[in-house]
Symmetry: C2
Subunit: 221 residues, 2 copies
């Protein structure tokens, strides 16, 4: 059995395009594999706490010395890391804000990328001391952008601070680069036929990815 | 007279290196130009609100139709944009979290980059519809990183999601790329002689930048 984690980062409820496409992904997945588990965390509505000095101090306090205040500071992080650890497939649905992640999504990454929980630190290693602890997860990144052409070679390639950043963070939550699928909807602020085509293509891509991941041996990709 | 805006994004109080270097910048500036004004906003301690559906709706409501609830949703944004508009030089002091901005700093950008306030939208323009409204500001970015070599050509160049992202956002708050100075402290998590050298170099660079900006005609750069 596979566990999916659906992480919605849009502050919009009904009007969110990233939510709609993510829900299509989940619906198609469940139609194909009804007994899989879907966990959900809504960082767009229920904002994760931002990092405080108390949070940092608690992270660096050994487990056996944790005070109730330390534990309280880490409660969100503990819960978010627990469900992340249980998950095989992470679906992150997010708008692009100011060319990158909304602060709410970055806040989630800042809560789950944590020393001794999701990465280790080797003080003897002077160049690459950090190593991820989690491995073997897959990530479906579903993004909705007002503008367009953020892909490599596109006219806004240098302004893509969303996918490359998520890709780097994903390494530390157990997702290898080859296991990231990005479904990108663009042209949202133009609301024209280019946007309609982009939504159509995204929905087709969702179907292809669900097929690929639910039937890995039967469907070549 | 010049107005400076000091924006601290570290959640650490005494222990923050980015705060210390930013304070050195401000102290040296004030020693040179004691009658300049320094505004301060501490996003690391007093976190900006994250974007909500109500905030988005308020942004798109014309001024003459703003309800008290709309105005309340935009209160932080209004105040932050006011002081930004007044400022000639913006000093952003921030730690690097998970290879990019801490969520608190991104939350500030998400509050100040706002339609009809800091950028305009031309619906007839089908490729580049957004234009910044503010112009002519300078940005001093002071960053503190645990790791190192994020510069172009460095071993972590592809993992630098801080400077390029700030650079793109800066365009929308009136800072041209040539007017950005980045003072980067690295190796913080190693706490070794490489880190000491990095701090020393950063402090020298602060002096050079203060000289350059306070005495633009007397000191060639």
């Amino acid at each position: 059995m596979t566990t999916l984690l659906l992480l919605n980062a849009s502050p919009r409820r009904e009007r969110s395009l990233s939510r709609r496409i993510a829900q299509t992904f989940i619906d198609q997945w469940q139609a194909s594999r009804p007994s899989d588990t879907v966990l959900q965390r809504d960082v767009g509505i229920d904002h994760p706490p931002l990092v405080t000095e108390e949070w940092i101090a608690a992270c660096f306090t050994p487990d056996e010395k944790q005070t109730p205040a330390n534990k309280q500071a880490l409660a969100y992080s503990d819960a978010a890391i627990s469900e992340l650890s249980l998950s095989d497939i992470i679906v992150i649905a997010t708008p692009r804000y100011n060319y990158g992640m909304p602060a709410a999504l970055k806040a989630w990454f800042d809560q789950v990328i944590r020393i001794r929980r999701t990465f280790s630190f080797d003080p003897a290693e002077k160049t690459w001391p950090l190593s991820p602890i989690l491995h073997g997860k897959k990530l479906i990144l579903i993004s909705a952008s007002g503008e367009f052409d953020f892909h490599p070679g596109g006219i806004r390639e240098d302004w893509d601070h969303l996918e490359p950043h998520v890709r780097t963070c994903a390494h530390y939550i157990g997702v290898a680069s080859a296991d990231i699928h990005h479904v990108s909807v663009e042209y949202q602020e133009f609301a024209d036929e280019r946007h309609d085509s982009s939504v159509k293509l995204a929905l087709e891509m969702v179907g292809t990815i669900v097929d690929k991941l639910t039937l890995p041996l039967a469907v070549p990709y």
